[in-house]
Symmetry: D4
Subunit: 229 residues, 8 copies
């Protein structure tokens, strides 16, 4: 029996499988109002917040964003407005009915135009709109990070099966917090407050923490007395 470490994902060739903020683009695929009604692996409100936060993070980190939608004129509905609102620099690519965005030449070209080697991909339906382009991009040599919880699908089981499938194909699975922190790297930066605000879209309790923290410090500084005293 030969034993060796062969667990690294596709296309890293021995490199540490982490996001390189300088060599990465983000693909946000089919986050549409109609499709969101079909999401049952998490509350769709969580998905909506996480997808919107991804767009915001991409803007903070100054990385390119490409969006697309699947027949938004039909029951799938329009893209949720937060995506482009939070990433005004995003480039939208209309498809011609192809389910796999990677089957659309304009989309692939837009990806190539970014000149990046790494792709952060999120999409609804996870099982399809995220998984198919992720597998395709790996096959073409990209290092792919699939953001499982900024994608949504019809059941927890479907999510788990898709996680397994894309890992098997060499994709790196990641969650939204992982993407944010790997892009941010340090709190010792000028825009730290904006990053803190972005995390409230991932950890809603963080908003409470900030509110309580500010009040506690303000009370301490001002010497305000307790109402009960």
């Amino acid at each position: 029996m030969t034993m060796q470490n062969t667990s690294l994902p596709a296309n890293f060739n021995g490199a540490k499988p982490v996001i390189n903020p300088d060599d990465v683009a983000m693909l946000l695929i089919d986050h549409q109002s109609g499709l969101f009604q079909t999401v049952h692996d998490m509350p769709f409100t969580t998905l909506r917040s996480l997808a919107a936060t991804l767009a915001k993070i991409a803007t903070l980190a100054k990385i390119p964003v490409i969006t697309t939608a699947s027949v938004p004129q039909g029951p799938n509905g329009p893209l949720i407005p937060e995506i482009h609102a939070n990433a005004p620099h995003a480039r939208y690519i209309a498809r011609k009915g192809e389910i796999n965005a990677w089957d659309n030449p304009d989309f692939v070209q837009a990806v190539k135009d970014t000149g990046k080697k790494q792709l952060i991909i999120a999409g609804t339906i996870t099982s399809v709109c995220m998984a198919f382009p992720s597998i395709a991009a790996v096959a073409e040599g990209y290092q792919v990070f699939a953001v499982i919880d900024a994608s949504g699908t019809y059941s927890k089981m479907a999510q788990e099966v898709t996680l397994a499938r894309v890992m098997q194909a060499g994709v790196v699975p990641i969650d939204t917090a992982g993407v944010a922190s790997e892009l941010q790297r340090t709190w010792n930066r000028d825009d730290a407050a904006q990053w803190a605000e972005a995390y409230t879209g991932i950890f809603p309790n963080y908003q409470l923490l900030i509110e309580s923290h500010m009040k506690a410090q303000e009370v301490a500084r001002s010497g305000e007395k307790l109402d009960s005293q």
Copy 2:
């Protein structure tokens, strides 16, 4: 065995147990950032949205709102800002450490000042901050509607026990949607769009419905073709 219908709640004296938009005030008690961290009968984000929506509805329905907080200088934290932001006309009453807001004479006086016979009450912690004033108000002759899901507590079991307790004491239990619709009464009103927007804080799927509906109608009106055609 004597049989009769005796199930009506306290202080209705045979009247139909519904909200009278012209004779009701709303009490929003202790919706504070620290206390929200302890809420486990629902995601606190749901509570935050429902409590904020109650405030918004009170404004739309033009009913008086009284707020208060329990020692906001301590670990309980400050009131969440949405309450007063959504109900700028609300009157805040500081307490002197009393846990039951009804034990504070200023608070009771503020309630009396509204001149209303009915009270819509929500509070965090449900078991305490909502329940105690509700029971006290019933005992003083008010018709009380306790908004169970715009209040939050430490466990689902605690919520269920409190629901049972306040009903037994003669309080009418109600949910946030019930309050909204009983105040709104009809869609045939000028501010219908504002009410529709308010419901998105209660039923988040409603926001998706509106987005999809508007897009579908726009496509139909403009004759826009499907991307896949």
Copy 3:
């Protein structure tokens, strides 16, 4: 302390609180495609099946059905087609924006036209569309059976609160199976097979039971051998 049995619901005056198949009408309110997207107290597929089954049962039991919808031209969407498909004799009443169907005079008149004393009511959203007319009908002297699980609302908590509220107001809570069996009364009737089929909409496992039962009997009668023999 005086003790007596006072637990009977409103308007029964000591009578046994059960459905009288000869004196009952069914009201199916606002079972609309858009509103169903907001239902979270059960899978909406369960609600869809139970509501459709209620309509089917009303037909089998030959009881009048009245339907209505809340602004079906807007985001609430159209009535699901199964309702009228399964109860072709149902009478549809258009409202003029009133949230509480009982606020619409045409609806109340349609109820009166049936000449029945008992009402079986189901509606989506439970908290509003089922609860408001139920409370109103009790106040006007009807014996009301609210079908909690053929109604749907935005959270389990909202459903529980509404159950509590309508009970407190004198409504009899019931589930879809209870309605079906109280109307059917006996298996010793010519249309027993149609009732059995109707139950598969309430207990999906019942369909499997019927399939297995028929095969088992067929094998026994035909003397078919096991494949494994």
Copy 4:
């Protein structure tokens, strides 16, 4: 407003609402193999164990048991064998298709023959087979204890609705442990070990407790050393 305690259930006339072991009979209705496949308010294995335990307890407490089944020749299937195995003295009443066992004159006569004033009732489907006879028996003056968790139905919501309905009708709700302990009354009795064994059907952990307890005492008495010493 008149205030008084009127919460006691039907037919107790001020007496404490508890089981009188000397004046009670048990009715076990429609615990059938096919129907058990449709049970989803608890694992049916739990229901099977609790129903079987009720029969065992009735035998230990020497109270009469009446059983019946709904068309056991069809998809509903046969009674589970544990019922009569654990209560060999039970009297089986065949019905003629009536869904409500109380609609069958033989069944009602069998109940009357016991000469008891109190009835402990469990049945599958809870919503129907337990609820209908319970409501009927209350209406005829019996004190009825409905064993909610030795009955099974198609959803947790259906169980909750049925609990509410039968309480409203004056039935006392109880769980299997409550029945067992109210019949047993004391551990200071010769058959205490048999009762302890019966509780393992209600609290499966109790079997582990007994096993561990006996081993611990045996080790202490024999001075057996730990394997690790």
Copy 5:
């Protein structure tokens, strides 16, 4: 139809159904190590913490406590040590095998000896050890508060059924937070810090809040800089 408010619980005779700190005793029944293994309506660790907290609160509020255990020499196991550790003034009453503590004359006498009219009762198994004495005490004229979540039983369904049963018998249901706050009444008291500490046994997040609050104030007061600056 006569309508009146008759919902108040037993023995209050129109008084507000709240705890009177000066006229109440606490009964803690059968909180034993073996029985705790059978608890499944909540994590037993939650029960253990809530029951221990009740004992602590009784000490802070200086109210009498009576404890008892069911055959602690057998599989039920010993009382958990926190009960007497937190309420050193508690009086332990050994029973002689009676399942219902109220069937033991020494126990009833101990209750009478306290001279209190109100009883706060918690016990494991809820269905039995809490419910039976609660119903008995109501029948003898006590005002009874049953602490549902400082009691534990074998399933959530059993808890719900027992809550319904004891309410129907006139008991006031309450949760541990309700008991604590109704006894404490105000934060404007010398032992406020001890009460705050007690709440960490009810709301574990409260401990985090206190830790974070103290640190935030300390940082503000000392002018300590962020590590990231």
Copy 6:
């Protein structure tokens, strides 16, 4: 340490691990009425719908289907009728008691007769009827796609363990939506409406979306006014 990408599943030899619509057959194994009663990793109604949809999709995509059943004359029951109804071209192979369909020479021959290299396999019980033939087919050189959620088993844990096992053996895990979309490829095709209808069996919310979308467009086109106007 040598590092390389070795995560591709069995028998792909470096090719992209996706379904080739032109070189794939579908095996639907043991979807029987009795076995479905034992399914607890999802509601069996979900399984029934997904399995039926797979059959429908195979017909739309014109790929061969082979079915089989395990001793359908016994408690396992007959194949659910939707399978052959939705895939009338399917070929049924009777087995002689072999649990692993791949142990039956007729079954293996039928697979070979299709001349396809890829197999889409679903079966109930997942742990056995799906897993065993999948592992066997991989060992014989097929590229195997196991449809986890169109298979059913006795617990979520059993499903997860089986997913892990078949992946470890080189099988590609996939969900029903993944199969459908990988076969469909584009909405720009004549039978797009039939595919849309098929997705309602996978995403039940999609049916609501279509209903709402059609109504919204119809209202826009016809200029129908809101009832509330």
Copy 7:
């Protein structure tokens, strides 16, 4: 990038990773009454039934069984009696305190004495008693099948982590149904009825299926009429 199929588990060297009934032994480790109280990844009653069924299956399949316990004189408690009752041929090995059974030379020798190359291992606590010997046995060249659901641990998360760990170490994960069917292979065998009975310990619904099936066939054969006819 080199691509190849390397997913087969340890020590199979390219062989199909399935159980060989002729070359396998079963190790049942630490299924003790005390430890079972700590199990929370599934109801311990499920674990008890699955572990007992494994022992029964080993007997039917005539494969060697080795058992052991961790300090059964202490709080861990005695082995549950079903293990040896169902596998009377099992060999018990006492350990000397070693947590990992594989650290005990007698245990390893007993395994070697069987002369088998494959091991089916189940143990409580999964994280420890199952995982450690499984990893050790793989390292010594055995082909190991870890029965995840006939093992139990303190949380679902702990189970999932352990599943991942043992897979990573080269173990084949399997569920109890997989073990049973891989050993049984075919229903065309003389002891088929005993195997069917064994499956009722894995799929409790199977017992209902058998009961219903036998009754249905008996009714068909005897021409018994429906009670309702």
Copy 8:
């Protein structure tokens, strides 16, 4: 197709992937009061207990511990005090805002100073504070054991995704019980009682087991009679 066993995690080079108590250090990262409020993959009380137990175990096993915190002056809050209380020998490293502790040179140096080849790592947020240093340490040649359940994150899905990601990167996943037992190795040691006590922080039922066991043995030894005798 080449087949070989390549599943061993990174840096083991064919060695058995288990903890070597003599060559391992523990890193406890960012277990802070504020961050704990955001944890939702398990009750944070469970996380608090498991993290505190890890520290205790490190002390018992005499292995080095390094701690650090992320900006404890801000909303993240202070380290929970149990960490250093239970591991007084732990070395605390302040960071300068780096999110990934491994980006801080002092931290990496502290790890190197231990001279150990294996690292046991737990951190909150799992997705970030645990995952990033784990992946980095693997890349630098360490054998890394990630304690998934002594780390906490914002959702179960995030935990699952992170487990997948770190495994893919070559990390060994493990649970707290696995760490404890792999360090302890045997009960045949002088400090066995301290280890037993430590397990009560992992398996809370174990505390009940010990209490019951000691009482049972004491009763047996003293010949104490049952209260019921």
